[in-house]
């Protein structure tokens, strides 16, 4: 039987938690193309590693079905990769760092960009809900002007159950879309 592969994309602003998300659920060590951010460079104060081309995670269902998770690089200078990654995706997750309102505008812009690539279902993950300064999902919905019919889910990317929930909700949306 020929193998079928299915792809979902995890996108969002710089440092939103995309790599962490994929790492929590992937059965293989995430093939990341992260590079160390040079000490003293612009981004270094925020984090030490960033994704440069993509993250790549895998969930094998069985011999003939595999789900690939592609994480986009968050930095705008790699946005030429976005469209390539979006090709043929079944759906996508937009990760938002709920504790960083300075990134909400960028999150919304990425969401709109991916929506324009393909009319596939998507969900928004209000990530880092464990952070003391995280905005509540319902406030984020208004802040980002996410329509009522789009799922906005609380998320802690470091916790597997939370990541599973986000992926499941996306898959349910994909199923529903097929019914219509």
């Amino acid at each position: 039987m020929p193998m079928q592969t299915v792809k979902m994309v995890i996108t969002g602003p710089f440092s939103a938690g995309k790599t962490e998300f994929i790492r929590s659920i992937s059965e293989i060590d995430v093939v990341t193309t992260d590079e160390k951010i040079a000490a003293g460079s612009a981004e270094f104060e925020t984090k030490e590693q960033t994704t440069v081309a993509m993250d790549f995670g895998r969930i094998t269902v069985d011999d003939d079905l595999v789900l690939y998770l592609f994480g986009t690089p968050g930095q705008r200078r790699f946005d030429f990769m976005w469209e390539i990654l979006a090709e043929g995706m079944l759906g996508f997750v937009v990760m938002v760092d709920s504790a960083k309102p300075e990134t909400f505008r960028e999150a919304k812009s990425i969401l709109e960009t991916f929506r324009a690539y393909a009319p596939t279902p998507y969900v928004v993950a209000a990530n880092k809900q464990d952070h003391p300064e995280a905005w509540a999902p319902e406030d984020l919905r208004i802040a980002l002007r996410i329509e009522e019919n789009v799922k906005l889910l609380p998320c802690i990317a470091t916790e597997k159950e939370s990541v599973k929930n986000v992926l499941l909700e996306l898959l349910y949306s994909i199923l529903e879309e097929m019914d219509t």
Binding site: K7, I25, L65, D97, A99, E102, F104, E138
Partner: protein
């Protein structure tokens, strides 16, 4: 859950909109911006040019209280919000009267003081209500022009009961505040595409109840139709891009209208049309059973 940030990222108008829509109660604190030397915040793009110095809250500049999504009171850190001063500012008491009342009335709450002043025929109840309302609005309209201050919203914290509060519909505040705002740049960011059209939300009757629109707003409202682009409305109303943006932005933030794509318009042009978007109709064809198998697998993962 926190609701903290900087007005540079989330404007006063957006905060008011959020409080209005979510029917929140609580107190918004806005602070003096204090720059932290050598530290930066990233706008989520990882781009050098989008970084800006980190700003932390300094002294409190203003407190604005809300109850069930309505504005009820505002006070500034540097002026005395004593009832006597508020009435003086509104022209209801002269400077001497205000001073005497301030000194002798120091031990009374605003409510008790107001009662005494009304009983003594210094002022009427309407004077008190209008003066406090004006004082509150003056502060809020001022804050609506700020754009670099840190803020924090403290949910469910309200002014003490002895304070006189006057509920004000936030939709009106948003529209009037946007009308007064001079800055054009945020308007362009928030409403980049004038080729979009407008429509009324569900149950518009409820939303428009108690709203005081100006002549300009009513003219725009009269042309609202999913077939008319904002640009066409501007033309019909003889407004410049900036003028129409200001009106539409106010209406949008107040939740009185919604953006829609007019018929025949492509997806909003975030970027130039690209390979994938031209191919966009081709979503991968997969079977329902495949999705069901994925669901089963992730559930057990």
């Amino acid at each position: 859950m926190a609701l903290k940030g900087n007005l540079a990222d989330f404007s006063t108008t957006q905060i008011l909109n959020l409080i209005n829509l979510a029917r929140k109660s609580g107190t918004l604190h806005v602070y003096e911006p204090v720059v932290v030397a050598g530290e930066f915040v990233d706008a989520g793009t990882g781009r050098e040019e989008d970084r800006r110095p980190k700003v932390v809250p300094g002294q409190e500049r203003v407190q604005i209280a809300f109850k069930d999504g309505q504005l009820v009171l505002a006070a500034t850190g540097n002026t005395d919000g004593h009832l006597a001063n508020v009435l003086h500012k509104a022209g209801k008491l002269n400077a001497d009267q205000a001073r005497v009342i301030r000194e002798r009335g120091a031990k009374y709450s605003d409510k008790a003081l107001a009662l005494m002043l009304i009983n003594a025929n210094y002022v009427t109840q309407i004077d008190v209500v209008r003066s406090i309302q004006q004082h509150t609005l003056d502060i809020v309209y001022d804050v609506m022009t700020w754009n670099e201050e840190p803020f924090a919203f403290e949910e469910n914290v309200l002014p003490p009961p002895e304070k006189i509060t006057v509920p004000i519909d936030l939709k009106n505040v948003i529209i009037e505040g946007t009308r007064r705002a001079q800055e054009v740049k945020p308007l362009e960011d928030e409403l980049p595409n004038l080729d979009m059209a407008l429509k009324f939300p569900d149950a518009p009757g409820d939303k428009f109840r108690g709203i005081h629109l100006g002549v300009e707003e009513w003219r725009v409202v009269s042309f609202i139709n999913p077939k008319n682009s904002i640009r066409q409305i501007a033309k019909a109303c003889n407004m410049t891009d900036t003028e129409i943006r200001r009106v539409v932005y106010g209406l949008l933030q107040a939740g009185l209208v919604e953006l829609v794509k007019p018929p025949g318009m492509q997806a909003p042009a975030q970027k130039t049309p690209t390979r994938a978007s031209r191919r966009q109709a081709k979503a991968p064809a997969i079977e329902k059973s495949v999705v069901q198998r994925l669901i089963a697998k992730i559930k057990e993962a």
